[in-house]
């Protein structure tokens, strides 16, 4: 028990904000995984007799312009949102982590070259780059993931580089080298654990951003293929019929809000718990 209290999970469970965040995230993940089981209707089944139905016992969140059950569609959309977010953040994060440590710990010329590269990429607004790439590539989740990776890995790279750089001349790194530690040993045993904290915080904070980008691209019609259930597609429908049936838009926004709250709070809780200096003493 007392050992568990000192693990990261143990400490997170002692933090009300973290518990709240993890509850929301668990809700989203479980509902996405079990979407097929939970969904009261087939998310693609059109029921033209019940178009624009108001929320009821049959259709918990009403139906859309084609009479499809919004709640069932949002459950399926959650799968896509989480899949895109986790894949894109993992790939972008890994690239950023490696390039950032190389820039921070490698020779000066490499640092300058990588910084220039990061800044160039960050200078493009995500949505413009998304539109440009979408014009070149087939419409689909692969394109969404590539757009997110290209527009976001530089941010991880920047953060990791700054962290690495501040550690490079830290006395404990010099002390390690003075004890005969190799380059790999220093990078993996000493730099990496120090940069992982800020890295995971950034990743957690970025997940809802990626979910929003997927929704935004689907909203603009450059995300998921037409007909695929997606939070962004539901928002788009809701937007088109906002005057007559506002609940489509409201229902479509709800999971986005939950995802943003959940991952942002988790990021903040991680920030408090991952840095042993900020941690309350036992």
């Amino acid at each position: 028990m007392s050992a568990f209290r000192h693990t990261l999970m143990g400490r997170l469970l002692a933090d009300p904000l973290a518990v709240f965040a993890m509850a929301i995230i668990a809700l989203l993940v479980v509902s996405a995984l079990l979407a097929d089981v939970i969904a009261p209707h087939d998310p693609s089944a059109m029921n033209l007799a019940d178009r624009f139905a108001s929320p009821s016992a049959t259709y918990w969140m009403g139906t859309d312009n084609l009479g499809r059950d919004t709640f069932s569609r949002l459950l399926q959309g959650g799968r896509i949102a989480l899949y895109v977010a986790l894949t894109a953040v993992s790939i972008a994060g890994l690239i950023g982590l490696i390039l950032g440590m190389l820039a921070g710990f490698g020779p000066r010329w490499l640092d300058n070259a990588l910084l220039f590269f990061f800044d160039t990429l960050r200078a493009y607004p995500t949505i413009i780059l998304a539109l440009a790439l979408a014009a070149l590539m087939p419409r689909g989740l692969g394109t969404v993931i590539i757009v997110v990776v290209i527009t976001s890995f530089a941010e991880y790279g920047r953060v990791v580089r700054t962290q690495t750089l501040s550690l490079k001349n830290a006395e404990f790194i010099l002390a390690e080298r003075a004890m005969g530690a190799s380059f790999a040993r220093i990078v993996f045993h000493h730099i990496l654990p120090n940069v992982l904290g800020p890295f995971f915080i950034l990743a957690a904070m970025n997940l809802p951003v990626v979910i929003t980008i997927e929704a935004g691209m689907s909203f603009l019609g450059i995300g998921v293929p037409p007909g695929t259930p997606s939070w962004g597609a539901t928002l788009k429908d809701g937007f088109d019929y906002i005057r007559t049936t506002p609940w489509i838009l409201l229902s479509g926004g709800l999971p986005l809000i939950l995802a943003t709250l959940g991952f942002t709070f988790l990021g903040e809780a991680l920030r408090d718990q991952l840095d042993p200096r900020l941690r309350k003493t036992r």
Binding site: F172, M179, A181, D275
Partner: protein
């Protein structure tokens, strides 16, 4: 007695925008097997440069235009990267000035101490018990429990003990201590000095002790080297140098505040004037711009004048001891 560490006519230059900065010029220091030698000098005189040169961890812009550094008879300036890595830790190890920053903040004490034993054989448990034993040896209460602690959970004095324990765990032949007590208060300082003395006896290593606290050097060391602006200006047995200093710089240091030798001070006494520009050092004696005994002859390089036995000062006007 053979030498554990021998520095011969070592010069180190840094490449800067203003030209070559001569951080060390013809410095020679000998630390005998099992001996304790002190290096004293104000900030900027090249103490860190000296340590980094000994470890061959100088920054990229540094060059060694001349000199030899031999550790246990082996020239480190010629050793390959692999051999150097072996020597660091096994033959030479360091306790740094600031125990706040010389330990990794996000790893537990136990993990860091286990990590540095990666060359040794043995299970995790065996390494941990070796770590705990060493923590106990350096006077840390509840050593086994402390293995799980993080650096920020310990006080400055405790952290410095951990740093010493880590250095001692490697059982080096030469231990370098880079102002290890500067960040500590007087009582702790005495304890750390005592601890270093004891460990030196037990491990049988030699110590190169860098400090700008004259009193600590007097307390701990057999010999002392006085450095000024990258030059060794005086050297000798501690008693001779402090009681009968030969170089005007050393005389100033001691005269400025006779209490220095006893009281705990964080800085060397201030002497009028400032350090010379090391990219364009004065010709002749490096101390000339600040020296009130300077005469014409001081524009030529001063010889190392033997004063009494192994005590010398690099000054034209140094007087040979009558005693």
């Amino acid at each position: 007695m053979s030498e554990a560490l021998k520095v011969e006519d070592l010069s180190v230059h840094y490449d800067t925008r203003e030209g070559a900065l001569q951080a060390l010029r013809d410095v020679s220091i000998t630390v005998p097997e099992g001996g304790i030698v002190g290096v004293v000098g104000e900030s900027g005189c090249g103490k860190s440069t000296l340590i980094n040169a000994l470890l061959q961890l100088l920054p990229e812009n540094a060059t060694i235009p001349a000199g030899r550094i031999t550790l246990q008879g082996e020239d480190v300036t010629r050793a390959g990267t692999r051999r150097l890595r072996q020597m660091r830790g096994q033959e030479i190890s360091v306790v740094f000035q600031d125990p706040m920053t010389s330990l990794n903040p996000v790893l537990s004490i136990g993990r860091q101490m286990r990590d540095i034993q990666y060359r040794q054989q043995g299970s995790r448990a065996a390494k941990d018990s070796r770590s705990a034993a060493m923590l106990g040896r350096v006077g840390i209460p509840d050593p086994v429990g402390k293995l799980a602690a993080y650096p920020h959970e310990l006080s400055g004095g405790m952290r410095q003990r951990v740093a010493i324990a880590m250095a001692a765990l490697m059982r080096p032949r030469v231990l370098i201590a880079d102002e290890p007590t500067t960040a500590l208060d007087a009582t702790l300082e005495v304890q750390i000095i005592e601890l270093l003395k004891e460990l030196q006896q037990e491990i049988g290593c030699a110590i190169l002790f860098i400090s700008h606290h004259l009193g600590v050097i007097a307390e701990l060391c057999d010999r002392v080297v006085v450095m000024y602006a990258g030059v060794a200006v005086e050297e000798g047995p501690v008693a001779d140098v402090f009681l009968r200093p030969g170089h005007p710089y050393t005389i100033k240091l001691i005269e400025c505040d006779p209490g220095k030798l006893k009281e705990k001070v964080t800085d060397l006494p201030s002497i009028p004037g400032s350090l010379p520009d090391l990219t364009d050092p004065p010709a002749g004696c490096i101390f000339r711009p600040r020296c009130d005994r300077a005469t014409e002859i001081c524009a030529t390089p001063p010889p190392r004048k033997g004063l009494n036995g192994a005590h010398w000062a690099a000054c034209h006007h140094a007087k040979v001891d009558k005693a």
